[in-house]
Assembly symmetry: C2
Homo-oligomer: 218 residues x 2
Amino acid sequence: MRVGELSRRSGVPIPTIKYYLREGLLAPGVAVASNQADYGEEHLRRLLLVRALIDVGGVSVAGAREVVGALTAYADDPLELLGVAQSSVAPRHQPDRATPEWLAARGRVTELVAERGWLVEAWSPEMDQVADALAAGGSLGVPELSEKLGEYADTAASLAAVEVGMVLARPDPAARMELVVLGTVLGEALFSALRMLAHQHESKRQLELGKPGPGIAQ
Amino acid sequence: MRVGELSRRSGVPIPTIKYYLREGLLAPGVAVASNQADYGEEHLRRLLLVRALIDVGGVSVAGAREVVGALTAYADDPLELLGVAQSSVAPRHQPDRATPEWLAARGRVTELVAERGWLVEAWSPEMDQVADALAAGGSLGVPELSEKLGEYADTAASLAAVEVGMVLARPDPAARMELVVLGTVLGEALFSALRMLAHQHESKRQLELGKPGPGIAQ
């Protein structure tokens, strides 16, 4: 198909498609004339993937390029691919990690992982990110995050079990690998929005419970 | 204290503090000389909050300014404040919402909320964001997200119950409001990193289970 049809079928404007081509997020089409190229179904699919990463997952263009590259580079290595997909949704900045508070928080994370027997590499950047959140909470007078770390970990573990099960239920290895990426990014966006809805519900519910009922005198 | 001490105690470089002052993320200090200002403990605290939002939560400078403004503007309205905090961590882009697939996904979200009796406004942007993830999943051949929507919602509900309980356990209303913001942003970062660690663990664990054991002949 021509770029116009690719645009129509994907809902992505032609200038954006050209931008993705220049940025290497989309492989070039087959040249059919000096200024015309032909695109296949795999281009459409890749375009939809890139859009989902960027629009729904909030991944940057640079992050999406890394993920797209990793899908090819790590076609046989789900753990490497998972690492790239995970780092694409992680925040870009990095707080100060040389403080005693941060090191204490990092120690707490090592303990948590050991207690639960989680099979993770000691150098996983996510261990540091957990410590970032705990240390920021600590320095801002929010010890609650540390106190409830076990509950956070329980919830994360039960969600991860569902999601990894979802991936492994696919019989085709290539389809599995795609779900490693999409599950990480779209699953994150899905869960995050549901958590916020659930917060609204719980806030209203628990605030209502705290109010005096209609039968109580002033 | 002078800006140098504010910098030392917060770990934030002086040029960054000046940038936050210009951008309105931090209130001006009290002028003590033509080119000198004095800052108090509340400046230090606000600075740490801004840093946590930006570095740990991945919130943009513009988003952090909105949250900081909302802490004052909605000091008595936890639900409004929650809305601002939630939108500060949401992705900036917006996918196409005029497709039949999106509208079907949005209907599915309305059903979910109704089935569970969740007390949320029909116009909550998070309802649309859930639909964004489901519709992107659908168009990319990932019906799993829709199929497991109930499990995602269960997990989100149990995390939200812990987090809202955490906020309401604080007796002081101002301290509660701060935790609405910090819980939303830092809690998101904390959970997200834990989910990724749990993914690594579950992937290794479930992949190991699938392999033939050492006692099995080739």
